[in-house]
């Protein structure tokens, strides 16, 4: 918008000065609005952080938006290892490790399956493979309520009810659709001639995947791993439906801490717990935001 002046015929100094002033005012307004929005998005994080560092007394008497008088980390310690999630009072710690134990294999397996599926659907198409792809893709969009009841029965039959292994299975199955989509859309940009040439040279299906496709895959692997990790770490519905007291993921434990009705309501502990639960995905986002956004947009728009 720098060449608005192209249109001005007169070179009157006054008009030019007014325009300049207008432009500065406009820029100022623009930045002010952007700043207001930034404050709006940051406010909950700020409130969570400051509340977690205040004492209960200060929370009751002070203001939501004020900075803590003394920085007090006791509520963080309580949230990590002492807060009650129902009858158990070991804090978030055991559930944090549950979430780690569950997301690592689930992310790994769903990414691996997505990579080979995407490879087939992009480069080794056969009659009906597009329909298979559409059927897999549709699986990403179903409301999971529609599969919860039969899943609970099947997990019971497999002796996996209430286990971490059961949750891994659930997350892998319902993650395949997205991981396949990511890899398929990435591999589809590789020219088919490359595969043909490799075939002529005697390389087979696995060899071509291994020595041509895998080496170019790191960017899409990062996108997929971040996407899957965020999804699985943040999941609540599967966690609350298919876990039991000792195997709950962190989101379920957080919700239990916040909604536990026993004793005094410790808002500072709630907020510390919320930050702890959010920290892993927040760190991933801050460190690899570019890949995070790519996953988000790839999940909604055809690549």
């Amino acid at each position: 918008m720098t060449d608005i002046s192209v249109n001005s015929v007169s070179s009157e100094k006054n008009a030019a000065r007014i325009r300049l002033a207008q432009r500065i005012a406009l820029r100022f307004g623009l930045y002010a609005m952007l700043l207001v929005f930034a404050l709006y998005y940051l406010m909950p994080l700020f409130v969570m952080l400051t509340t977690s560092l205040k004492s209960l007394d200060e929370i009751r008497t002070g203001s939501l938006l004020s900075l803590p008088r003394d920085i007090d980390f006791t509520s963080w310690a309580t949230a990590w290892s002492g807060a009650c999630t129902g009858i158990q009072c070991d804090g978030l710690q055991p559930f944090f490790w549950n979430s780690v134990l569950l997301s690592v294999p689930a992310v790994f397996l769903s990414t691996l399956l997505g990579a080979v599926n995407g490879y087939v659907l992009a480069q080794w198409r056969f009659k009906g493979s597009n329909i298979l792809f559409a059927l897999m893709l549709f699986g990403c969009f179903i409301p999971f309520q529609v599969v919860i009841l039969p899943m609970a029965i099947v997990l019971g039959k497999l002796q996996l009810a209430g286990t971490i292994g059961g949750l891994v299975l659930v997350h892998v199955v319902y993650g395949i659709g997205f991981t396949t989509l990511f890899f398929r859309n990435f591999y589809v940009t590789v020219p088919q001639e490359l595969v043909k040439a490799a075939k002529v040279d005697g390389a087979g299906f696995f060899r071509i995947f291994y020595s041509i496709f895998l080496p170019i895959s790191p960017p899409i692997i990062v996108v997929t791993v971040i996407w899957q990790f965020t999804q699985i770490w943040n999941d609540f519905l599967f966690g609350v439906s298919f876990s039991q007291a000792g195997t709950q993921p962190i989101t379920v434990a957080l919700n239990n801490i916040v909604n536990s009705t026993t004793g005094v309501k410790e808002y500072n502990v709630d907020m510390a717990a919320a930050i702890i639960a959010a920290l892993p995905t927040l760190i991933v986002y801050v460190v690899a935001g570019k890949y995070f956004i790519r996953g988000l947009t790839a999940g909604s728009v055809k690549g």
Binding site: N7, L34, S63, F133, L296
Partner: protein, 290 residues
């Protein structure tokens, strides 16, 4: 043998995933739909009994509340997230020097779990200690903000938190769209003396119709699935004032022991999602002839 293996390798690699999807997605949808036509209560029963569950749903005041809430939440959530997202994208598209950091700030809520978002907003909107006390401290002592515990207004708190979480994502979609608009057309319009707002209104925004569609699909999909946010923010309460189909289904399945109602409400959700997603997927995946 190796030749046979080589020939069938692609299909064999795909088979386990595809079978899993077939069973765990389509088989399970079929199971739920089937059970929705039985008299299942605490345990599933398999003799068909017609549409009794759907009649019960239609008569259930709680499900009516859930559907009304979904409509209120869906419309407001999609509307506000789109408006805010588009506004932010346009503002950020004005050659802003700090665009990178601002984008990071606008989008970080998308990395959070809805449970975290719900917990944070539950505290901020706390009647007494939250926003209300901030206003009282600022001297506005009659200010009352108790939406969270007001059965008629609680659903709007879900909108507030949902928009906060998702609008940055809509911004990212629109920003990508703005960046791909043909620059030549815009330059030509500017040379012709068309004002910047007019350029946006009549050239840029109309050219982003596909982005509006994507945003709509993603947001409506989030709205129908919204479960975690409601659970964390209001727990579906007060009473069942903020129930949505997703929380209704969960309550029927796990606390009421009413599998019939759970299955039929899940099927209703499935039908709503299918009505939105299938035409979209069809248009996205259909081979292009242009």
């Amino acid at each position: 043998m190796t030749e046979w293996l080589e020939k069938h390798a692609p299909k064999m690699v795909l088979a386990p995933s595809f079978i899993a999807i077939l069973v765990f997605v389509y088989g399970f949808i079929g199971w739920t739909a089937y059970v929705s036509f039985t008299r299942s209560k605490l345990l599933p029963k398999y003799d068909l009994k017609g549409t009794i569950q759907y009649e019960r749903l239609a008569d259930s005041p709680r499900f009516e509340v859930a559907l009304t809430n979904l409509a209120i939440f869906g419309v407001l959530f999609i509307l506000f997230a789109t408006i805010i997202g588009l506004t932010l994208a346009i503002l950020l598209d004005q050659k802003i020097r700090t665009e990178g950091p601002l984008r990071t700030i606008y989008l970080y809520p998308m990395a959070l779990s809805f449970i975290v978002t719900g917990t944070a907003w539950k505290w901020i909107l706390n009647p007494g200690l939250g926003i209300e006390s901030v206003m009282h401290d600022l001297g506005w002592t009659d200010f009352a903000f108790n939406w969270l515990v007001d059965p008629n207004l609680a659903i709007y708190t879900v909108v507030i938190a949902g928009v906060w979480q998702s609008s940055g994502f809509v911004m990212a979609l629109f920003l990508a769209g703005l960046r791909s608009v043909d620059n030549e057309v815009i330059r030509a319009a500017m040379v012709d003396g068309v004002s910047t707002p007019r350029i946006y209104m009549s050239i840029i925004i109309p050219s982003m119709a596909p982005i509006f569609l994507s945003a709509f699909i993603v947001l409506s999909h989030l709205a129908i699935k919204s479960f975690d946010l409601v659970i964390a923010l209001t727990g579906g309460g007060p009473g069942y004032a903020t129930d949505m189909p997703a929380t209704f289904m969960y309550a029927m399945a796990f606390s009421r022991g009413d599998i019939g109602q759970a299955a039929s409400s899940a099927t209703v959700m499935m039908v709503i999602v299918t009505a939105i997603i299938v035409p979209y997927l069809y248009s996205e995946l259909r081979p292009r002839h242009d």
